[in-house]
Symmetry: C2
Subunit: 246 residues, 2 copies
């Protein structure tokens, strides 16, 4: 069965208070089982997960780090406020957020928002995704699966790619444990981060900059089974442990 | 414009000497501009980039590492033979290959191949992708873009995801440098690893195990501009430098 990938065109600039479910349903004839990927930046703007730099007083620690990263200390303070563990301080802040997500500058963003404002990641992205799913069900009567995405850097490979920040109606990981390959061997690779693979392709369709496409629909996308343990715990992450020693 | 994602169903078990372009063109009515993603394992099987464990004599170094990873020393030797730099030895070998790709066990695979055989990554994946593209043009007369993929682990996030190993007819990175956001600001995120985002979604459609879908076609997939510097150089990779200190 062919999968269809449909960019949601025609959304305006999003502001706090906008009803995303209402706006998106006007532009998409949803079908049951569709997957909707939504840029976290747009979710956060609609829900007021933004901060004004003018209202932030940087700590001494933020001032110290800002010297190294050449950033506004108030912005660094906003990053620290959303950080549960600083993994690297420079050349860029790499930090863990409350959900276990590891991202540059805790996922805080200057782009596609008014001057002097920063966009945070949704502080509770799983509840955010579930809430959007419920709202879509109310507005259009369809059972939609939802992924909230962000554009994120990686190790070893240049260039950012989209990843899943929150999701609802699916598991993050497709679990192949117990499956066999074409020759009957037990599989070595058993956990596929499907939610990131879908988020990644949606991020390609969204684009960065002024493309104006913060939402993408996947139709006829297969279902899968698995679990939601998408983030390594600190103590099981080999790379993180090695970094921690420095 | 909707993008269509089409799994290529009906390919048999692939063996050395099989003509992949011929076989795939029998199953797909290609259109100019289609993107074909092909699993590297299948490319390598068709082109004989496999090794028999029985023909490998492990070095003392391979024996030493195999003690730590609890693997067959001959398999470890095969990994070392495809490795230009060992980044981690255990709990799993993480190594750089000749192309700059960083992967667990240098991308060597036991799965979906006869017992006692290992599948290597294509040793020259850019030429491999270009050769497949040329062959497809000869067989079906269409201009196809090609990505050769592998399933690969990541830092910080659990679960494997598909990445691009070789590509032809596109650049790896979409370059947004000089672009502006919806408010006219210069973009901070300027390089998107588009080829990995497409490879990742194809990997989801392929699945692991015995799904039997090593090829996926993307139709109406936009074009982009950029460059092919997908892999960080050793000296510009912050994470790698931190790891190297241990
Ligand atoms: N229509 C519309 N598009 C937006 C808005 N904000 C961002 N976008 C678009 O959504 C996509 C992703 O935006 P980006 O800022 O990269 O979001 P992030 O990846 O979640 O940080 C791009 O195509 C942007 O142009 C908005 O308020 N309205
Ligand atoms: N038809 C067919 N499918 C294969 C063959 N080898 C692997 N596959 C399928 O191709 C997909 C990817 O296989 P995998 O071994 O994970 O490849 P890798 O990601 O490149 O290492 C899965 O759906 C496999 O079932 C083959 O020889 N013939
Ligand atoms: Mn962002
Ligand atoms: Mn983005
Ligand atoms: Mn593989
Ligand atoms: Mn695979």
């Amino acid at each position: 069965m062919h999968i269809e990938v449909i960019p949601v065109e025609g959304l305006p600039l999003i502001h706090q208070g906008d009803d995303l479910a209402e706006m998106i349903c006007k532009l998409v004839a949803f079908e049951d089982g569709d997957v909707l990927c939504l840029a976290s930046s747009v979710y956060s703007k609609a829900h007021g997960h933004t901060r004004l730099l003018d209202e932030i007083v940087p700590s001494a620690n933020a001032e110290r780090i800002a010297q190294k990263t050449h950033e506004d200390p108030r912005f660094v303070q906003a990053v620290l406020d959303d950080t549960t563990d600083v993994i690297l301080e420079d050349p860029f802040i790499l930090s863990e957020t409350v959900t276990g997500h590891v991202g540059v500058r805790a996922g805080l963003d200057h782009s596609n928002v008014e001057d002097g404002m920063v966009v945070r990641l949704p502080p509770d992205p799983m509840t955010a995704a579930a809430g959007l799913r419920d709202a879509l069900r109310v507005v259009c009567g369809k059972e939609i699966r939802v992924i909230i995405t962000d554009t994120c850097g990686r190790s070893f490979r240049r260039g950012q790619a989209g990843v899943a920040i929150g999701w609802s109606g699916m598991t993050a990981i497709r679990d192949f444990r117990g499956d066999h390959d074409l020759f009957g061997h037990t599989l070595e690779i058993t956990e596929e981060a499907v939610v990131d693979e879908v988020a990644g392709f949606s991020n390609f369709v969204m684009g960065e900059s002024n493309n104006g496409i913060p939402a993408v629909v996947f139709r006829n996308c297969p279902q899968w089974n698995g679990h939601d343990d998408l983030h390594f715990r600190r103590d099981e992450d080999i790379i993180r442990q090695a970094l921690g020693k420095n």
